[in-house]
Amino acid sequence: MSHFIDRRLNGRNKSTVNRQRFLKRYKTQLKRAVADAVNKRSITDIDSGEKVGIPSRDISEPVFHHGKGGVRDMVHPGNREFMRGDKIRRPEGGSGEGSGQGKAGKGGTGEDDFVFELSREEFLDLLFDDLELPNLVRNQLIGTTEFKTVRAGYATQGAPTNIDVVRSLKGAIARRTALGAPSRARIRELEEEIEGLLATGIGEDDIQVRERREEIDRLKTRIAALPFIDTFDLRYQSFVKQPEPTSKAVMLCIMDVSGSMDQVRKNLAKRFFILLYLFLQRNYDKIEVVFIRHHTIAQEVDEQEFFYSRETGGTVVSSALNLAYEVVSERYDPSVWNIYAAQASDGDNWDSDSGVCRDILMQQIMPLMRYYAYVEITPRQHQSLWYAYQEVMAAHAHFAMQQIDGTDDIYPVFRELFKRQDV
C-alpha cells in the first residue's frame, strides 16, 4: 500500500549550494551587471535586491543540436485552410505558423539575457566585493573603550542597593537550619527518652524527667538565639563591565550647495553618499548620518533639505569644516564613534580659504577621522581646493580624493577609494 510522508518540514533550501555555485561561477559577469545596475537605477531603492541579467550565451550549457537549414518535416495541429500541395510563405524569424519551434516559450525571456533577482545581501556582497573599510582593524582593536554592564552572578560584598533579598534569605534559612540541626536532633532524642520514662510509670516530677526537660529548654533557647539574618548571609548582585568593540559609526556628509552645484551634480554626490552609507552599514551595527551643507556659511540640515533645497552664493569650504569639527567634538567622541566623512564639491572655493581648509583638516579634523573621502564633481580643471587637499593627502594616509566626471564614474571612483589595501 502507498506510504505517505510529510516532507514539508524538511529543509527548503536544498538548492542553496547550487545557487551559490552558480553565483560564484558567474561572479565576473554578475559584478559587471551589478555595477551597471548601480549606475542606472534610482538612488532611493538601492537598498533592495536587484535584478541582474547575464547574457544567455555566457551561461548556456551546450549540446550538439541541429542548426538551421536542410530539409525538415513538421506536423502541426489545427489546420483550417491548407490543402495538400499548398505553398506557404516562409514566416519571418523562423517561428510562428511555419516552423513553430517555440523557442520563446521557455522562461518567457526568449533569447535575451538570463535575468534573475539577487537578494539584498548577495547584491551588496557583489557590489562591495574586494572593498574594505580603511582602518577597520584598528577600529576593532582600539575601539574597546565602550563598556557594557553585564550580570556576573552573586558576590558577598557590594553596595546595599544591590542586595539580592531572596538569595540572602535563602542563605539565612540554610544557615539557621544547619546551625540548629544538632540541637533539634538532641531535642528529639530527649523527648523520646522522656516518653520512654513516662511509659515506665515514672512521674513528671522525677529527676530524670526534669533534667531532660531542662536540657530541652536550654536547647530551645539556643535555637531561638540563632540570628534570623546575619551579615554572613548577605548576597549582592554582581555586575561587571565588559569592554565592547565599538560598532557605531557616524558619517559626515559635507556638500557644497553654492550656485555652481546644480541638481545633476547634487545627484552624483547623493549617489556617492548612498554608496558610502550602504558600505558602512555592512560593517557597523549602528550608523548615524550628519548632513552638513555649505555655501559661504555652513548649516547642519536634514536629508531632504540637504539634497533638494536650492541655495546660491559663493563658497567658503572652511565654514563646513569648522562646523563638522564642532559637531564631532560636541556629539561624537572619537573613542566611541568611528567617524567617517565624505565631502562632495565642485572644487570652487575662495582662493584664500583653501589654505585655511587644509589647516583645519590637518590639525583638527584628520586626527579624529577613520577615513575622509573627498570627491570633486567637475569635468573642469582642478582649482585651489584640490591642490590644498593634495597636501593633506600626502600627510594623512586615511585621506583620499578622487574626481568624478559623470554618473559612470561614481562606482569606479568609489571602488578606487575603498579598494582593499594590500599590506
Binding site: 510529510d6 505553398k87 516559450g105
Partner: protein, 497 residues
Amino acid sequence: MTKRLITDSSEWSFPLLERFDREIAERAHNVYGLDTYANQVEVISSEQMIDAYSSVGLPIYYQHWSFGKQFVATEQTYRRGQMGLAYEIVINSDPCIAYLMEENSLPMQALVIAHASYGHNSFFKGNYLFRTWTSADAIIDYLVFARKYIAQCEERYGHEEVELLLDSCHALMNHGVDRYKRPAPLSMAEEQRRQLERETYLQYQVNDLWRTLPRQEGSAEEGGEIRWPEEPQENLLYFIEKNAPLLEPWQREVVRIVRKIGQYFYPQRQTQVMNEGWATFWHYTLLNHLYDDGLVSDGFMMEFLQSHTSVVLQPPFDAPYYNGINPYALGFAMMRDIRRICESPTEEDRYWFPDFAGGDWKKVLDFAMRNFKDESFIAQFLSPTLMRDFHLFAICDDDREEHLNVTAIHEEQGYRALRQALAEQYNLGTREPNIQVFSVDRRGDRSMTLRHFTHNRRPLGDSVEEMLRHIRRLWGFAVRLESVDEQGRVQLVGEAI
C-alpha cells in the same frame, strides 16, 4: 448504489489522502489490472518543489552550478507568475516516489495520486524501455553513491577541477547511451564497484593508446592502417571513459556517473507522449470511476475536469501560445482512441486496425504500453479519426525552396504520410544529431575524429566549437569533427587542437 461520498471538503488531510489512495488503488489493481511498484507519496511545499525541479526531479543529486541556474530560473518565472509549478513530480524508482504540493486542493491531490502513483508508476514498471534501461530498485542508491563520490572528488581535487569535468560530461550527456546494447544494472555493491574501477585502471594501463614503445618493424600489421575503433562508436562518453589516455581513475568514474544518469533519463526522452498520455488516461479513467461509484461529489469532478482539460489542451498552430504538439493532449487522445476503437469501432477503424478493433481495450492498451516508444506507438496506433480531430497537417521546410510545402493533410491520401511524419518527429535518431567516434590516430598524435552523419542535409547548430572544446578537454588530445552527407561526402566541420 447509495451515495457514500468520501468527503465534500476540498481541503486535503492525510487521512483523506490515504482514503483516496485506497479507493484508487483498489480500482487500479483489481478493475483495470495495473501493475505498479509500491508507492511512496511525499507532501512538499512549493519551495521544495522548485528545489526538486532544479535537480531534474531526482530526490538527491550531486552538486553543480547548472542546477543552481535552473533553480534561479524556475524560482524567477514562478515568482513572476509566468509559470505554475507542476502539480507533481514522479520518479522512476522502486518504491515509486511521487511529490504532491501542499498547495493543491483535494481533487488535485487525488488527480495527482492517480496520475503519478498509478499511471506513471505502472508505465515505469511495464514499458520495455524502462525495463531495459533503468533499474528502478537501484537508482536511489546509485544517486546517493554518485553524490558522495563527487563530493569526495571535490574535496580531494578541488571544486574547479570537478566542475570543469562535469561541464564537459553534461555537454555529452545525450551521447552517453548505448542505443542497442542492454546496459549493465545501474548500481552495484561497493565491492563490485571497486573492482570495476581497478579493472578500468588496468585496462587503461594496457591500452594501446598508452603504449609508447615503438613497434618492431617486422611485427607491424599489414599496411598498419587499420582504423581504430574498428566500428564507429556512438556512445561518446563510454568511449572516452574507457579509452581517453590521460584521464585519472576518478575522472573516469565521474564520466561514468554522468553517463549512467544520462542513461537513466534516456527512456523518458523517448516516451514522453506515451508516458504522459498513459498517466493522463488513467487519472481520467480512475477518477471517473470514483465518481460513478458515488464516492466523490459533482463539485469535486468539476474541479478535477477543469485541471484535466487545461492539461490536455492543444492550441492550434496559429495560436499565440502554440508551442508544438502537447504530449499530454496527443497521448491522452491516443489512449482514449484506442479504447474507443476497441469498444465501438467504425468501418474505418476495422480497416485500419484489424488486429484489435473490437478487442479487449485493457489488453490492447497494456500491450501498447509495454512494447512501444513514442515513435513506434504513433506509427502503429495513430488513427485517421484522431488526425481529423487534431486537424493535423505536415509541412516540408526545404531551405533550397522559397516556400514551405504542405505535404499532407488529414484526408484519405494523407493519413499514412502524416502518421509517418509525426512518428518521425519523435524519433530520437533524427531529433538529435547522429555523431559517432570514427577513428583515433593511435600511432600519431592520438587525435580523435568524430563524424556527424547528416540526415536531410541538416547541419549542426552553432554550439559546435564549444562542444569540441569540451570533448577536447575529456579526450586530452586534438578532436576533429567531420560531417558525412547522404552521398558519403566527408567535410571537416570543426577542430579543437
